[in-house]
Symmetry: C2
Subunit: 465 residues, 2 copies
């Protein structure tokens, strides 16, 4: 097999078999660990197709890896040592920008940062903003959302064309940049968000947007979740599509981040709001046409003067204190103790009630733990982190083994989210070993049945993954 | 069968069998004509499910009809007289608006105009803008685009949840208003744009947006298609997301409309531009914050002063002369003679070249005919109309029967569009009897194969349609 793979990908480093060479592909950025039989690094769609065909013919299972930034354990191979890992990082030759079309044809292995550097030369940007630096192919199969979904939508909203290699090596090439094309089934939609289960994305055509010329940021101290939602609704009415980011950080997460983060200033100087709301406006207009700083300040003042309840403080934040804090939350929580990180969403209007209910649940059933949530209140997504010190865990809670406590919490909070609040157990991280059981439990029958039909049609021998 | 249907939908007028009662459902608004065995008008999802189950059990084919505004002959039953038509017009009870969530749960039979009237009370709008008044369910299955796709996207971009009844009466209910939900296959995507071939849409959850507070419109006289595209690119950079409509009307269409339209003023007073560009900005900001009229005028002046070629005239159009003209094109062309109306799209940057090539083709092969195109240059869509007087058609062109000439033109222009310009034979009208042969010819194998697999999974006995 290894020789056959080397014949297909003959370039230096095209096939890795040594343990030390394989290791970076076997271990996730934060979670995930497995063993690969070999790691193959193709440079072209044809090589990807040849590798998949070869493995398919021999009944060898394959596992694709992009930027290895996933958070559900799906980036890495399983523990069997049988899977061939197909790493897409060398599929990085093409970034073809058409400024008149406002689109770009890009290879699946290109990093988001590389794409945006190339686009910036044309005054353009691919407007999916997130903390990691994933590959474009990985972003498509996980339908990445990020912090500015409110304004720009997710990857699906910005995807025009796609090239995918199926398990048997068939190349499905639909690389048209058409914005209007209603000729029946839009096949690319079935690959978006299915975590690569139906094929490997080798190229994509994306719609991109003009780079903003202005940005204005503010921090708002809110006394409760209801005040956060009222502010959201007020700003959408007053500043409209300039509203790009609307995040809220709970006081527990805020406090932990100030304790452990590096080079942070405390914007509210000691007062810890129940929720700290990070608001950002962007515009392609220059300040002479529309002063965003003034627009945002006026909108916030007007909201308070109109009698909004629960707004305790408003600060313009030109130095980005809020963003600095926001970016250090996840790492800071790890310094507090053990962290269970859940990526949930509920209907936007129910987020305040859901956060309160989650807090009540943890207080009642796991009183040694603290809920430290922060999230994208503009789109209903919340990173619900539960944090505790192992020393505080009473006897009995660890009876279910080392993962038993985490699983019990995860089960209880996902049940609350999905069954009681009509929410999602995976807002933007996708499905992988870490949350597969919730897929089995909560995804409806017709969806599972259609997914099985698609797999039967696109991967008839089940060789894939 | 009729009795059994009456038992399921017992309300007055629930089942229509008289020829005069069936007739409005058998004949399209502009195209399409067939014969129905009966017309059933259910009022609830349960009734729709019962009707479909009943027909499924008896092997009776069904055909759903929404607002009957389709343009590809797909709204009406076929000529066999065997199909039961399911009309959704009484499925019109629910318009549940959640202003905090900025979403609405709506029955499939609700008209776009009804939905927007209800939303306006909350300062909201469903931002799909088009000439007809379709039902929401029909808009979902045809993935309607319209004139402001540039800013708001198509129906798919604004669809959060869906309820569909499958051929056997199974109800697939995914009515969640979640904006972030990446738990594998997004099943609703396979129903969008497939013209109802996989099920009947009974309810939908839509994302809606704040009503604009301002609107500014201008008309620009452009000497050629290249000037139109340069203006588009310039405006996207200068006014960004305020740009909502960017349409261009060719001189031939413009001239015909002035000849036949009612109560029209000629904005350019006799001069007929090669392309008349209709530009519209909208904003939720009020004029004190951002004067749109001024912004648009300044942007157009700056574009010309920066040396743009081929811009012959610029007029602000506060009275809507351009829109009045735009809305009367299709009907006006009919007064000129026989019309072949094609709904095509190409990559946006190739629209100028495509329009020129289409003109050359018609001139060379059908010199008695005139191309009168107008379209959504902002998204690459063009309504390419070919117009001629039957008296001018030379001998021999009608040898292929009454539809032969139209078919020959349609074949040649679709081939030019799809094969040479990477375009679509149906930008926004969907697939129906009028263009089914292009589906068979141009839609790629994998898409047709997956569609067959989906039909096998969702409609195993093929009773549907």
């Amino acid at each position: 097999l290894i020789e056959a793979l080397r014949a297909v990908v003959p370039e230096t480093g095209g096939v890795l078999v040594e343990a030390s060479d394989r290791q970076p592909y076997e271990t996730g950025w934060r979670y995930g660990r497995g063993v690969a039989r070999a790691v193959v690094r193709p440079q072209t769609t044809e090589q990807v197709a040849d590798v998949l065909r070869l493995c398919h013919e021999r009944g060898v299972r394959v596992h694709a890896i992009g930027g290895n930034t996933g958070l559900v354990g799906a980036s890495n191979p399983d523990a069997t040592g049988e899977q061939v890992v197909v790493a897409l990082e060398r599929l990085r030759r093409t970034i073809d920008i058409d400024p008149v079309d406002r689109t770009v044809l890009v290879d699946g292995g290109v990093l988001l940062s590389q794409l945006n550097a190339a686009l910036a030369e044309h005054g353009l940007v691919f407007p999916i903003d997130l903390g990691a630096d994933p590959q474009i192919g990985g972003m498509v199969v996980t339908n990445t959302g990020g912090t500015s979904l409110l304004k720009y939508g997710d990857v699906r909203h910005n995807l025009l064309g796609l090239e995918v290699v199926l398990a048997d090596g068939t190349v499905v090439s639909q690389l048209s940049p058409l914005r209007k094309n209603n000729t029946g089934l839009d096949l690319k939609q079935v690959f978006v968000g299915t975590s690569g289960a139906l094929g490997v994305v080798t190229r994509a055509v994306l719609q991109v947007v003009p780079l903003p010329r202005q940005r204005a940021t503010a921090l708002v101290a809110a006394a409760d979740g209801a005040a956060v939602l009222a502010l959201l609704q007020g700003l959408e009415r007053s500043v409209g599509s300039a509203l790009t980011v609307f995040e809220a950080i709970h006081g527990e997460a805020y406090r932990a981040t100030l304790r452990h983060g590096a080079n942070l200033q405390d914007p509210f100087r000691g007062a810890v709001p129940t929720y700290t709301v990070l608001v950002e406006l962007t515009s392609t207009l220059d300040a002479a046409q529309l002063d965003l700083e003034e627009l945002l300040q006026n909108a916030l003042v007007a909201h308070v003067e109109a009698g909004a309840e629960g707004i305790d403080d408003v600060l313009m934040d030109p130095k980005g204190l809020g963003w600095a804090l926001r970016h250090q939350i996840s790492e800071s929580l790890r310094h507090e103790g053990t962290v269970l990180g859940l990526d949930l969403s509920v209907p936007r209007s129910r987020l305040a009630a859901f956060s309160a209910a989650a807090r009540d649940l943890v207080q009642a059933r796991f009183p040694f733990a603290t809920v430290c949530d922060f999230g994208h209140w503009g789109d209903g997504g919340t990173h619900l982190n539960v944090v505790w010190r192992e020393a505080d865990v009473p006897e009995g809670f660890h009876d279910g083994g080392p993962e038993g406590l985490k699983h019990a919490m995860q089960d209880a909070l996902c049940e609350l989210c999905v069954a009681q609040f009509g929410g999602s157990f995976s807002a933007e991280h996708g499905v992988g070993p870490h949350n597969q059981r919730f897929y089995d439990r909560y995804v409806d029958g017709p969806t599972q049945r259609v997914m099985a039909a698609l797999r039967a049609a696109l991967d008839p021998t089940g060789a894939w993954k």
